[in-house]
Amino acid sequence: MDNLYLFAMLAGTRVAVEASEVEAVVRLSDISPVPGMGAHVAGLSALRSRVLTVVDVAALIHGRATPAQERGLAIIANISGHSYGLMVESVSDICNVLEGELPLRGQIDPAWAPYARAIVEYDGMPWLLVPLARFIEGGGQQQAA
């Protein structure tokens, strides 16, 4: 497996995402809200003929919805057959990291604990490796709880 990661800023935290999970990174235009949902579902957005469920990951972590004007980029991913857009603040790079993922160290913020799997060292800094599916499934659990 190659250690290609996408590095992004998400809810004020540096995160790394396995590139194989990422289909694309797009700038979100129109988001149709889905009423009756928690703040972590920003709404639906059409990417050409596909309909993305846009997940406000920051809201999932902080419980605060990202204001509409600050919505920018989204990572497009296909998670169990459905297309999702996961909102991120910025994307810095896609890069190969030779040593791959390192085990988590230190005391991780409980807010991040359900989502982080490991650490990826890049550019002299640690980045949280987050499997994208956890945002969807974790979100569902929170919803159910």
């Binding site: 149709s32 009423p35 639906l44 309909v51 997940v55």
Partner: protein, 837 residues
């Protein structure tokens, strides 16, 4: 990930074009052919033609030899004929005149031989083989790009025609062995050559991708259209764009259809299967298939095939008896088996009904006991439905012996599992000794449904058209919206519905608007209707529904989503989900609940109620709360009479107490108000009915006196208000008629006939009538359910009470049709009483 779809898409397109190719070669349309050139390079088609021809030539090589040895060999002749025919067809399209001339000549001769008009002598065979070889050479030449002199062609054709002439001069002694009459032979062979409608199997993902592609195209077109509008008008450009739009729209229609399949396909194998099985078992079965034109998702069709097959097998094997048994049971020897498909809201309903022996629940219980599944105690406590439900237990079957057809341990449990796996529901309506009806309800996923686009909270939503009973504007006179304790009640033509505003359910802010809001009466597949206020209902559209992501589905409010042309995703509302989310009570539940509401209304000081203004026989004008009055009718004066100190009117064979005690009238016909307080009824003769007015619920002057509760001022006139309480209290205590009977539940509450004709009739006959089913299934065993629809009948039958099924046609659908013609009053009444007896 990206690469895969592309490589897969290519062969599909190729296949499509080959299909077109065949179509075009036979119809010989020049124009579409040219437009196709634009789509794919000629080389590609030519290459296809060359390789196909070469392949066929190779395969035919052996045949040719055999044909030479035995020119009367029919099969080989046919194979060779098909070859020439295909070549001729293809090269006409590819503009290869030499191929066409050669193959045409050969085809003519061969078709004569096939028709028996010519004998395939050695000379002809040789000439034909010469042409074949020539075609082979030409094909190779094209493949390698070498020119080939053409004079040889003429020589070869001449050789063949010379043979023809010779043959004509020397008439053949007898037609070739095995030839048919000339006309049909040719026709059949031509069909063979053109290869009929060809089908291919494609993975669904391909079609999905194609569909997405077309959707992208539509979006691009829309954007282009916007851009064009921004520019100055250019008629020429507009024309071209118009054409493109039409093409795209057509394309989208066609592609959408690829996913849909008529249920016919599901039914296709049934007749044969029924015939085979019934023959094996010595049973006679009359099979009826209905609703084959209903379309459902092809994936769904495939999922339903197995369960359906199993159900049909079961019906024949275990359900329908042998002719002898049927005769003994007093049934016609031929059993009837009926399959029906229809769309109901966002579901496809497939009903399989037979008139066989039904499920012997007693035996099921015995088996379950024997298998240790249930205890004796359990068995004793089980309701009929629970017993019936045992059929879905693995390994339980009522079949006494394992037969080759069914009963191999693969039972209804597997059927149910399969149906539920695709989100379906299976329901049984068992009539032991009379038959069994099995209803499968499967959802329509990713499919096209008629939908309404509505607005609420500044957003657009879609709702399945089938879920909407009616739409009114909130300024409509027929509609009255009351509110009490936060609950909204919409009264439409006297029927009260729980009302919610879509914005409230979804937690949206209401947007100010100038026009009236729209009130939709929404009914889900199972629930009772409720009124839903929305900003507006915009339009009606065919919607391609896609499944929404699980995150969104988790709300329970939505049934899916759709992407309209504007490119903004739209959510499809789930009527049942909305009702759940709003925690709506089911107001149709029972009368008591409604009356309770009335009282609540009164306490909350709801000012006005509708009242009937009428003139008493004695001349006073009075008011009576309208809700108590069932109707007004003219009654013959001689029907009124006194008995045991009480006054009654003889109506519909019963004695109905007369509320105001009048018995003598000076006219032949008397207008009478028919009153009902829920359980008791009364008759109130009046001089005339004036009109309906709004009166204060609490009279302006309360003066309880006899039948009167006070005086209200309506339009400046003082009118006495009749006290309904006193009115009913004054009625004889012991009912004239035993009323401990159950209610009549009219399932088809939204049906006009049921509401306007049946309900009044039943009420006249003294039955307690309720429109719709109580949602909490609180059905008393004494209740009788009336419906006109097999499916609801079956669902109703599950509730544990008797069902009377009505039919619109005077004639029974079959000897075992237990339904009653809906205008057969005697039959209906007998059925209602009989069901209780």
């Amino acid at each position: 990930m990206e690469g895969v779809p592309r490589t897969v898409a290519a062969p599909l397109f190729h296949v499509l074009l080959c299909g077109f190719n065949r179509l075009l070669t036979t119809s010989r349309h020049g124009a579409p052919a040219r437009s196709l050139w634009g789509l794919v390079g000629m080389d590609e088609l030519l290459q296809e033609f060359i390789s196909e021809t070469q392949e066929t030539l190779e395969a035919l090589a052996g045949e040719v030899v055999a044909w030479e040895a035995d020119p009367s060999d029919r099969d080989r002749l046919d194979a060779i004929f098909r070859f020439f025919h295909t070549v001729k067809g293809s090269c006409g399209f590819l503009n290869l005149p030499r191929f066409e001339r050669l193959s045409h000549a050969a085809e003519d001769v061969l078709s004569d031989i096939r028709a028996g008009e010519r004998k395939a002598d050695a000379g002809t065979v040789t000439a034909v083989l010469g042409l074949m070889d020539r075609i082979g050479e030409l094909t190779d030449a094209i493949a390698t790009g070498v020119a080939l002199p053409s004079e040889n062609d003429e020589f070869l054709i001449a050789a063949l025609t010379a043979q023809t002439k010779m043959a004509e001069e020397a008439p053949m002694p007898a037609p070739v062995e095995g030839t048919e009459s000339s006309g049909t032979g040719v026709a059949v062979s031509r069909q063979g050559g053109q290869s009929g409608p060809r089908t291919i199997r494609l993975p669904l993902t391909l079609i999905d991708q194609l569909m997405n592609g077309v959707s992208d195209m539509v979006l691009a077109r829309n954007e282009l259209s916007r851009k064009l509008r921004e520019r100055s008008a250019d008629p020429e450009l507009d024309n071209v764009f118009e054409r493109l739009s039409t093409c795209v729209a057509d394309m989208r229609d066609v592609i959408s259809k690829t996913r849909m399949q008529r249920v016919e396909r599901l039914f296709a194998a049934i007749p044969r299967m029924v015939r085979d099985i019934s023959r094996d078992l010595g049973k006679r079965i009359d099979l009826t298939l209905e609703g084959g034109d209903v379309e459902m998702d092809r994936e769904m069709v495939e999922m339903v095939v197995d369960p359906l097959t199993h159900i049909v097998r079961n019906a024949i094997d275990h359900g329908i008896e042998t002719p002898e048994q049927r005769r003994a049971a007093g049934k016609p020897e031929t059993g009837s088996l009926r399959l029906e498909a229809r769309q109901s809201g966002n579901q496809i309903v497939i009903v399989v009904s037979d008139d066989g022996r039904g499920i012997d629940t007693g035996r099921l219980v015995e088996k379950a006991l024997a298998a240790g599944r249930i205890s004796m105690e359990n068995a004793a406590r089980m309701s009929a439905d629970e017993k019936l439900d045992l059929i879905f237990q693995a390994g339980l079957s009522t079949a006494t012996q394992v037969t080759a057809i069914s009963g191999r341990g693969v039972g209804m449990d597997v059927v149910r599992a399969n149906v539920e796996r695709i989100g379906g529901v299976i329901a049984l309506d068992n009539h032991p000794g009379k038959g069994l009806t099995i209803t499968l309800r499967v959802p329509l996923t990713l499919t096209i449904i008629p939908g309404l686009i509505l607005r609420g909270g500044g957003q657009h939503f879609a709702i399945p058209r089938a879920a909407v009973v009616e739409i009114l504007h909130d300024n409509n006179d027929m509609l009255e919206i009351g509110s009490v304790g936060g609950a909204k009640i919409a009264t439409i033509r006297g029927i009260r519905h729980s009302m919610v505003d879509l914005e409230d359910v979804l937690g949206l802010a209401k947007v100010d608007q100038t026009g009236p809001r729209a009130i939709m009466v929404v009914r889900s597949a199972t629930g009772i209707p409720f009124a839903m206020g929305v900003s507006a209902v915009d339009n009606h559209e065919e919607l391609v529904i896609r499944p929404a992501s699980p995150l969104v589905m988790a709300t329970g409010l939505y049934a899916g989503m759709t992407l309209p042309d504007n490119g903004r995703p739209m959510l499809l509302l789930d009527a049942a989900g909305l009702a759940n989310a709003a925690r709506l009570p089911n107001i149709l539940d029972d009368r008591a609940a409604r009356q309770l509401k009335d009282e609540v209304d009164a306490q909350a000081g709801v000012e006005m109620v509708a009242a009937l203004r009428f003139e008493e026989i004695s001349g006073e004008r009075r008011l009576l709360q309208l809700s108590l009055i069932e109707r007004v009718e003219d009654i013959d004066a001689h029907l009124f009479g006194r008995s045991g100190g009480r006054v009654f009117a003889r109506l519909e064979g019963r004695l109905v107490p007369v509320a105001n005690g009048l018995v003598e009238f000076d006219r032949e016909k008397v207008s009478a108000l028919r009153l009902r307080d829920g359980s008791r009824e009364a008759c109130y003769p009046v001089a005339a009915v004036l009109d309906i007015v709004q009166m204060p619920l609490v009279p302006d002057m309360v003066a309880m006196h006899g039948l009167l509760s006070g005086v209200s001022v309506i339009d400046g006139v003082h009118l006495e208000v009749v006290n309904p309480f006193a009115l009913f209290a004054s009625l004889p205590d012991d009912p004239v008629f035993e009323r401990s009977r159950g209610r009549c539940l009219l399932v088809d509450a939204e049906d006009g006939w049921t509401r306007e004709i049946l309900a009044p009739l039943l009420r006249q006959a003294g039955h307690d009538v309720m429109l719709g089913l109580p949602n909490d299934a609180a059905v008393d065993p004494q209740d009788v359910i009336l419906c006109s629809n097999d499916d609801t009948a079956q669902a109703a039958g599950m509730m544990g009470c008797r069902v009377v099924r009505l039919r619109a046609s005077p004639r029974a659908a079959g000897p075992q049709d237990a339904s009653i013609y809906r205008y057969d009053q005697d039959g209906l009444m007998a059925a209602l009483t009989g069901t209780r007896g």
